[in-house]
């Protein structure tokens, strides 16, 4: 239980710290300016450093996982997605992997039934929850460009329109115009996160493998979603003030006089924590997924020589040495020899 509870307590504490830090102690500059800057800088530097540290290690061998027919004889249909023979196939494979989590799509669940016999059933729940979570996260992030950018970019209203599809149906009669509509992604990300959390706790296998740092980002992102939603739907904050603060940060002229409601600082502190934590954690899979040699290499190692920069020089047992040791025996059975 420790690894499930501890990070939860930790996230709650972080939230309380930001609340009291601002509402109680008035540390608006700390939570509104200093920490976000620090976290953002750590994120950029840490992320870059990690990518470079991976890039620095060479790929000695061409080791794609071939999950389909390779390009071989001309009349055998190759599977360019699963066993790409060149760059186009690799790009397609990577695109589907990064944007649609293709490998997870083939997930199955094995169970042992009386016999004993093994039975496999397709299980797309992890794929679906993962996809819904990541896409919702991305769309919510992009919607924030209403606040990040001075001029609201073209894609924001577009996303809002699609994402807020249910607005009219949901709110019109009861709340008239005072409440903003519910964004689909706000609900979906909550559902997905809840599923991912419950899966970790309830599936014995996943619970067994889970570490404290697997629960922490789940809680943290839940915290971000909840505080963000609260700001939008319940504890209203001065959106103009929030945007002014963010704009002042974006333009590196932090306006320390701006004060927004404390819920905003809790939200911001969670986001800062996530950014700070990111490069040191498994969240780096976001960068790592692009660099995996089992996925991003073409399966063409017999057609094109792959170079290993540290290919060691090895002393081999030569034929001459071999013949030297076995000459008489070889001669006796009439094997041709280099030296009689």
């Amino acid at each position: 239980m420790k690894k499930i509870i501890t990070p939860f307590v930790l996230v709650v504490l972080l939230g309380l710290i930001a609340w009291f830090g601002t509402a109680g102690l008035g540390l608006y500059t700390l939570f509104g300016v200093v920490l976000p800057y620090g976290a953002f800088a750590t994120f950029i530097v840490g992320f870059t450093f990690k990518i470079l540290s991976w890039a620095k290690s060479p790929v000695p061998f061409r080791i794609p996982t071939t999950a389909g027919q390779a390009k071989s004889l001309t009349w055998i249909k190759p599977n360019e997605l699963e066993s790409p023979s060149g760059a186009p196939g690799v790009l397609a494979r990577m695109f589907l992997e990064v944007f649609f989590f293709r490998s997870l799509l083939r997930n199955s669940r094995a169970s042992m039934v009386k016999g004993p016999r093994l039975v496999y059933v397709s299980d797309k729940s992890l794929w679906l929850a993962g996809l819904v979570f990541h896409w919702s996260f991305l769309i919510i992030f992009l919607r924030h460009y209403r606040i990040f950018a001075e001029q609201v970019p073209f894609f924001v209203p577009l996303l809002e329109a699609v994402d807020g599809f249910f607005e009219i149906v949901w709110y019109n009669e009861i709340h008239a115009v005072t409440l903003p509509g519910l964004y689909l992604t706000d609900a979906l990300i909550l559902v997905a996160l809840t599923f991912l959390f419950l899966r970790r706790v309830l599936d014995t296998k996943v619970r067994f493998i889970s570490l404290l740092q697997d629960y922490f980002p789940l809680y943290l992102i839940l915290g971000i979603v909840i505080t963000g939603s609260l700001m939008r739907y319940n504890l209203k904050v001065d959106v103009i003030a929030a945007k002014n603060l963010v704009q002042s940060l974006v333009h590196f002229h932090p306006d320390t006089s701006i004060q927004v409601g404390s819920i905003f600082y809790v939200h911001l502190f969670f986001v800062s924590t996530l950014a700070f934590y990111f490069p040191f954690s498994k969240l780096m899979h976001a960068g790592g997924v692009f660099m995996s040699p089992t996925r991003n290499l073409a399966n063409n190692s017999r057609a094109k020589r792959h170079i290993n920069p540290w290919n060691p020089t090895i002393k081999i047992r030569t034929y001459a040495e071999y013949e030297e040791d076995y000459r008489d025996k070889m001669k006796a059975v009439g094997l041709p020899l280099e030296k009689e």
Partner: protein, 544 residues
């Protein structure tokens, strides 16, 4: 039956009771405190000191995994730390795979050893965590500061023992990597773990002895040149007995067009030798100008299971011999891990083979473009090309006494992408061919349970458990379609699956692909074929 495994009925009863896959208890985080338990049947013998020395590996000594003291070098921690650092700097896959796992659990029930044992440390993600925990402690800031809070732990002799147990309870089959959203390949981690364990002199005899023998004699079985030729010649006699045709293989012959290399198991172990007979019949049928080599008489490479340097050393013989003999290109026999090495490693390690020519099938004229750099062609590609071009006279009815299914070998499917060629050939040489369920074949195929050098007698308990997922799928088609022959293009499969079928599915035999080709080939001047290459009756009663 082996004394190292319970009787099949006992094992089955135990599995029925435990429902192994569901057995994993939520132990919280105490996996780190659960030490490995060495009992008969779940560990492999240590190598003799001379064997370790002959390969130039560290810390040769007499020791045994079931003893308390493994006689590790005093500086074992420093050795592992340094070894890990070097490998992190030399291999991006290793470094990345230490960092990016999110423990989503997609791989958890994809491992045959997990499915067969129910041991949670056999979940691929856990296997990797055994090493990641030490990596975090030694190489990450979070691990150094927060210790076990972030799943970091120090290396101890207990951890070394745990690594030994579980990195020699992985067959490097790559099935998990097919399902991983980041392509994390446990085989890469196991390869690194085994290299690291070598630094402490922790390794197994069944891998090092063949590797050492292969270096000395040219093949894993330690067969010296005169014996090698004699054994092949005796197969020539068997071919004549069955078919009335005399084939004339040559050895170490300069000027042959093609050097043929196949795993030595094909020459020496049942049922592989029937496949060897099939090769020779095929070559005779099309008049291929080829030679065997006694020096490069091993297609397999136990170096792959040892470390990249031993792998390179053993593999180097192929090009070395091809150059000496002056052949144009190399043809390779049916073998799994051999083809992982040839396809993904050989050219990089020992190329460029610019003294060879882009392989051309002399019978059909087909240019094997896809092998233009490595210059080595798989026999299934060669034969499929021959059949496609109508160069073989085949009578598939001669395999009618068999109802067969095809086992994709891990390495050829997931480390090469050879899926369709063997199937194409099977459909042409046999009439009764049924596929196993789709989640157990092609890229999702299950390991035989004994790959990567674990096919040793004293490991029988784990081997039979590891073979269970494959056996379970075979049983399915045996019951539904009456399958009685499991065909594979891997020499290790041919031996290990034979044991596994005897254990789990008595009545199902195992064969190579070219054994069936050999049965079907209508040879010029052959006598009436009333027996197959195993000298079993064809039972060709006409049913009209």
């Amino acid at each position: 039956m082996s004394k190292f495994a319970p009787k099949p009925a006992e094992m089955a009863a135990q599995m029925n009771q435990d429902y192994l896959v569901e057995k994993v208890k939520a132990h919280e985080s105490d996996w780190m405190e659960t030490p490995p338990e060495f009992r008969p049947g779940n560990w492999c013998y240590a190598p003799a000191p001379e064997v370790v020395e002959s390969l130039g590996l560290d810390n040769p000594r007499k020791w045994s995994p079931d003893e308390e003291d493994w006689k590790l070098p005093a500086d074992y921690k420093a050795r592992i730390h340094q070894g890990m650092k070097e490998r992190l700097d030399k291999n991006r896959a290793f470094k990345l795979f230490m960092d990016v796992c999110v423990r989503c659990g997609a791989c958890a029930d994809k491992c045959h050893f997990f499915l067969g044992t129910g041991d949670p440390k056999n979940m691929p993600v856990m296997r990797a965590e055994l090493m990641r925990s030490v990596y975090r402690n030694d190489f990450t800031m979070a691990g150094k500061i927060l210790k076990d809070w972030v799943g970091a732990r120090k290396l101890t002799p207990e951890v070394v023992k745990e690594w030994f147990m579980y990195f020699y309870q992985c067959t490097e089959c790559r099935r998990c990597s097919v399902f991983c959203p980041y392509g994390i390949d446990t085989a890469e981690i196991t390869l690194m773990a085994r290299e690291l364990l070598h630094l402490l002199g922790v390794n197994i005899n069944w891998i090092l002895k063949p590797a050492s023998d292969c270096n000395r004699t040219g093949n894993h079985l330690g067969i010296e040149p005169h014996t090698f030729t004699q054994v092949v010649e005796s197969l020539v006699d068997d071919i004549e007995d069955v078919t009335g045709v005399s084939v004339n293989p040559t050895f170490n012959r300069k000027g042959a067009e093609v050097l043929f290399i196949t795993p030595s198991g094909d020459a020496f172990a049942e049922p592989g030798l029937y496949t060897m007979m099939g090769y020779m019949l095929l070559f005779e049928h099309v008049g291929l100008d080829y030679t065997f080599s006694t020096y490069a008489s091993e297609g397999g490479n136990f170096g792959l299971f040892t470390g990249n340097e031993v792998m390179k050393k053993l593999n180097a013989k192929m090009y070395h011999e091809a150059q000496r003999l002056g052949v144009k290109w190399i043809l390779g026999g049916e073998c799994g891990h051999m083809w992982r090495v040839v396809h993904q490693y050989m050219d990089t390690m020992n190329g460029p083979a610019d003294f060879l020519e882009t392989p051309i099938n002399p019978i059909t004229g087909t240019v094997f473009d896809f092998a233009k750099s490595t210059k080595m062609v798989h026999i299934a590609e060669f034969t499929a090309d021959l059949i496609r071009n109508n160069k073989l006279k085949l009578d598939p009815k001669r395999n009618d006494h068999r109802v067969l299914t095809f086992h994709d070998s891990c390495n050829t499917s997931r480390g090469m992408g050879m899926i369709e060629e063997p199937r194409y050939i099977l459909h042409k040489v046999a009439n009764k061919f049924y596929e196993m369920p789709e989640k157990t074949i092609r890229e999702q195929t299950f390991c035989c349970g004994s790959g990567s050098g674990l096919n040793t007698e004293e490991y029988m308990d784990i081997r039979m458990r590891g073979a269970f997922p494959r056996a379970s799928a075979v049983k399915h088609v045996a019951e539904r379609n009456g399958v009685n022959l499991l065909t594979a293009i891997c020499a290790i499969d041919r031996v290990t699956l034979t044991a596994a079928m005897r254990y789990w599915n008595p009545g199902v035999e195992v064969s190579g692909l070219h054994e069936l080709v050999g049965n079907a080939l209508i040879m010029e001047g052959e006598k009436e074929r009333d027996i197959d290459l195993r000298e079993d009756d064809l039972e060709l009663e006409e049913e009209e």
